[in-house]
Amino acid sequence: MSQLPLLNVDNLAFERDDDCLLNNVNLSLNAGEIVQVEGANGSGKTTLLRLLTTALQPSAGTIFYKGRALAECRYQYLSDMLYIGHQPAVKLTLTAEENLRWMVNTEAGVKHGSNADPHGIAAALAAVGLSGYTDVPCYALSAGQHRRVALARLMITTATLWYLDEPFTAIDKQGVSFLECRLQEHLDQGGAVVLTSHQDLTLKNLRNYSLSSQAGQVT
């Protein structure tokens, strides 16, 4: 039985201020696959990710989720998707534990109306190396630690599609291999990832997608 691709990007184009930032973007993603978007700075990598998250509206083209256009299944798509951008969305006056609980509640609350499991949260924070910092307000943590709080979300999320913008910034070598492990785990469980990074990754089913700096042509 042929499975519809999880994500299908058809002829996507994006224009802003009469400048064509992206053109002719075609991309297809199945469960278990990971796409690494490459390109020089300013070639539109972050723009592409933001188009995928619907934060931006494309000027042309359509995005399909499980065969249906986004306009028809926006709710299901957004419930099944996770985005971690340049900013980790961490409130400084809340502790690491409270921040993570909020992120999980927002996701879970949308799906089940339930509260996050506290053990899961503690375990997730321990996994990213923040076990001693659960009750520390985030203004006392470094930028790298803020990143780790955001990445802890990846330990307990139920989203299938992960969109990660430069997830390896501000984390050390140990963190890099940890994140790679987690990504592999997610792919093995049937998830899919689109990420931008300059890092050389050793993951199965990795495809590269290049955006040249002129109008995002496929190279």
Binding site: R16, A89, L94, M103, G109, V110
Partner: protein, 227 residues
């Protein structure tokens, strides 16, 4: 087909209240401004009670307006800077309810304290006794309108640096009907007339704001934070 979900209103309301509580020094500054500036009034006008009484109602309203303007810029600023706003905009929930939660939290931490502090100011500015209840009712509704309309301005200027002054310019004309009917409520009462009609108009403005402002804020946020 959406499953049964919460709308996000109470979640965002509780979180913003918690955040304000963690920064309670900052959250209290509009209230402090409100009270401090009222001590300037007798210094610049006159300490005479009868003359103060004539201007008391209007002055309290202007100070409430200014205090709200000072604080409304912060409604989306912190969420915009740390990426929380971005996450809200891509969440599956419909935007107006979480936004209404945030705006309600803003009113609970700004407008409501101002309203509750206003009798103190009424005392200091020799407001006639008949004006106290109308002042409380009109300020409660009026500051809520200020928060709602101010949120539209805050959404339109969230990605600008030094957006605060521009925000005030944008939002000031929209505040005028509220302030007209708000002060009229108090004046009517002081003059012995029935003060419920202008209060009713204020209520209508409030109802319209609750219905329409979250939609305008949602539209504005999608436009301005995309850039």
């Amino acid at each position: 087909m959406p499953q049964s979900t919460n709308s996000g209103f109470s979640a965002w309301l509780k979180r913003d209240l918690l955040l304000a509580y963690r920064r309670r020094g900052e959250a209290a500054s509009p209230l402090i401004f409100f009270v401090m500036v009222s001590t300037l009034i007798p210094l610049v006008l006159t300490p005479e009670p009868t003359r103060l009484a004539m201007v008391a109602a209007g002055l309290i309203w202007i100070m409430a307006l200014l205090a709200t303007l000072l604080s409304v810029e912060g409604l989306f600023a912190s969420d915009y800077q740390d990426g929380s706003l971005e996450q809200l905009l891509i969440s599956p929930q419909l935007l107006p309810m979480p936004l209404l939660g945030k705006i309600t939290a803003h009113w609970l931490t700004t407008g409501l304290p101002l309203t509750l502090a206003s009798p103190l100011l009424g005392l200091m500015l020799s407001l006639p006794t008949s004006g106290y209840l109308p002042m409380l009712c009109s300020l409660a509704l009026g500051t809520a309108c200020f928060s709602l309309t101010g949120a539209v301005g805050a959404a339109l200027t969230v990605s600008l640096r030094k957006g605060g002054l521009l925000l005030s310019l944008l939002v000031m004309p929209l505040y005028m009907p509220v302030i007209i009917f708000g002060t009229a409520t108090i004046s009517y009462a002081i003059d012995g007339l029935n003060w419920l009609p202008p209060l009713a108009v204020l209520g209508a403005l409030f109802a319209a704001s609750v219905a329409l402002c979250p939609l305008a804020v949602a539209g504005a946020l999608r436009v301005t934070s995309a850039h």
